[in-house]
């Protein structure tokens, strides 16, 4: 197996988790109700734990140790999709992003748990059980709020329209795409996207929300190749602020 291809996949997985984990953590203390404050904080902790599991696999392949990788790279060295770096906005936007992201992530983990690359398969088997709770949380809220008051529906619809180009950007293919598919590492981004569309449609159909016409949307690509919005670098600066005071400190 081409090690570069595996590393590229691992960076993509790990960076998505780390950046969304950080965004989720920004809800700590600000959730609209206590349960949601706790939910986003818990998901933050899970996701940062998931990124650690993938950064550890990268370390086993010769990359720097996880803290160094997480805290010392610049925005153009990150492989996350632009969706996860966008600011939290209001709760409706965070919820829609969480719904769109986690429904894709669980499919990736389900596929990777069958991967021909055993180290990823083991980690994915473990993590898919944890992400189920994230998906359950997102789907429950979308169903409840998406068919509640006029304001809730309008807000969610507007956030859904805004987030969709970025959500489609999650499925940007890597330059090793065909190689990964041929080697049985996973079925590739097109396959993830097709299944994702089925699952999010099934939830949205139970609400008063409408899925935007995907044919008319230009996906926001670039994230997987280090092209990011203006929002990523300030996030990284804040995330690494304490680490950078003394990079050699033992925690």
């Amino acid at each position: 197996m081409n090690e570069q291809a595996i590393k590229d996949l691992l960076y993509k997985l790990a960076d998505d988790q780390l950046i969304l984990g950080h965004r989720n953590s920004e809800w700590t203390g600000f959730g609209p109700i206590l349960e949601e404050d706790i939910a986003f904080s818990s998901m933050a902790q899970d996701k940062i734990g998931h990124s650690l599991a993938f950064y550890t696999l990268l370390q086993e392949l010769g990359e720097a140790e996880p803290d160094t990788v997480a805290f010392t790279r610049n925005a153009n060295q990150f492989h996350n999709s632009q969706l996860v770096e966008l600011p939290n906005g209001e709760y409706d936007f965070s919820l829609i992003r969480h719904f769109l992201y986690d429904n894709a992530e669980i499919i990736r983990f389900e596929m990777l748990s069958q991967s021909s690359y055993e180290p990823i398969a083991k980690v994915a088997t473990k993590l898919k059980g944890e992400v189920k709770y994230h998906v359950l949380h997102a789907n429950t809220w979308i169903k409840n709020l998406g068919s509640s008051t006029e304001e809730a529906i309008l807000r969610l619809q507007s956030s859904l329209n805004e987030a969709m180009p970025y959500a489609l950007g999650m499925f940007e293919k890597s330059k090793f795409e065909q190689e990964l598919i041929d080697a049985g590492v996973y079925a590739g981004e097109e396959a993830v996207k097709a299944e994702w569309l089925k699952r999010i449609t099934a939830v949205i159909e139970k609400t008063d929300l409408k899925l935007p016409d995907l044919a008319t949307i230009e996906p926001k690509f670039g994230g997987r190749y280090g092209e990011h919005t203006e929002h990523l670098q300030p996030l990284l600066d804040e995330m690494a602020e304490v680490f950078k005071i003394d990079p050699t400190a033992e925690w």
Binding site: E35, S42, D46, I48, G49, A53, V123, K126, G129, Y133
Partner: protein, 161 residues
């Protein structure tokens, strides 16, 4: 003392979950293997309950401290995903201890998580099934929060995973 897998496991009974101090790591199901080589080198394999659990590193150090305390200096403790944890790995003894501690133990299940499993958890205080899940997240990653309509109390469950 001659080293056997059994007596290492007995020593590890002393190591408790730092957040649930009645529950040993053995009963929690996170000790996934103990190997002793011919020259008495001890290998203990552990696996995290939740990948992001901040207590795992502490538990690993606690295992190392316990081995040292019993005069074992030739050892290695590994944290691996080789045999990933799920909540069915909690022992019967562990489930009983959780309940006594006031945490509803996770149901044994077929590892297909659905809402039904989460909705009607038996209250650890009064054993009623008339309960509702308030949120699948709680004060730690491994707990969800529920309300008992019978004894009118909030309670927590150790989540099925």
């Amino acid at each position: 003392m001659s080293l056997t897998k059994e007596n290492i496991l007995t020593l590890l009974e002393e190591v408790k979950d730092p957040e649930i101090p009645v529950l040993s790591l053995v009963d929690l199901g996170v000790i996934t293997g103990v190997e002793i080589s011919e020259d008495d080198h001890v290998t203990v394999n552990m696996t995290p309950t939740f990948a992001g659990c901040p207590a795992m590193d502490y538990m690993k150090k606690d295992v190392e401290r316990t081995l040292e305390k019993h005069g074992i200096s030739n050892y290695k403790v590994n944290m691996t995903f080789d045999k990933p944890w799920d909540s069915n790995k909690l022992t019967e003894k562990g489930r009983k201890q959780l309940k006594e501690f006031g945490l509803a133990p996770p149901p044994k299940y077929d590892l297909i998580l659905d809402l039904d499993i989460l909705e009607h958890v038996k209250c650890p205080y009064c054993d009623s099934d008339n309960t509702d899940m308030r949120t699948p997240f709680g004060p730690t990653l491994c707990r969800s929060m529920h309300y008992c309509n019978n004894c009118k109390q909030m309670f927590e469950q150790f989540k099925p995973l």
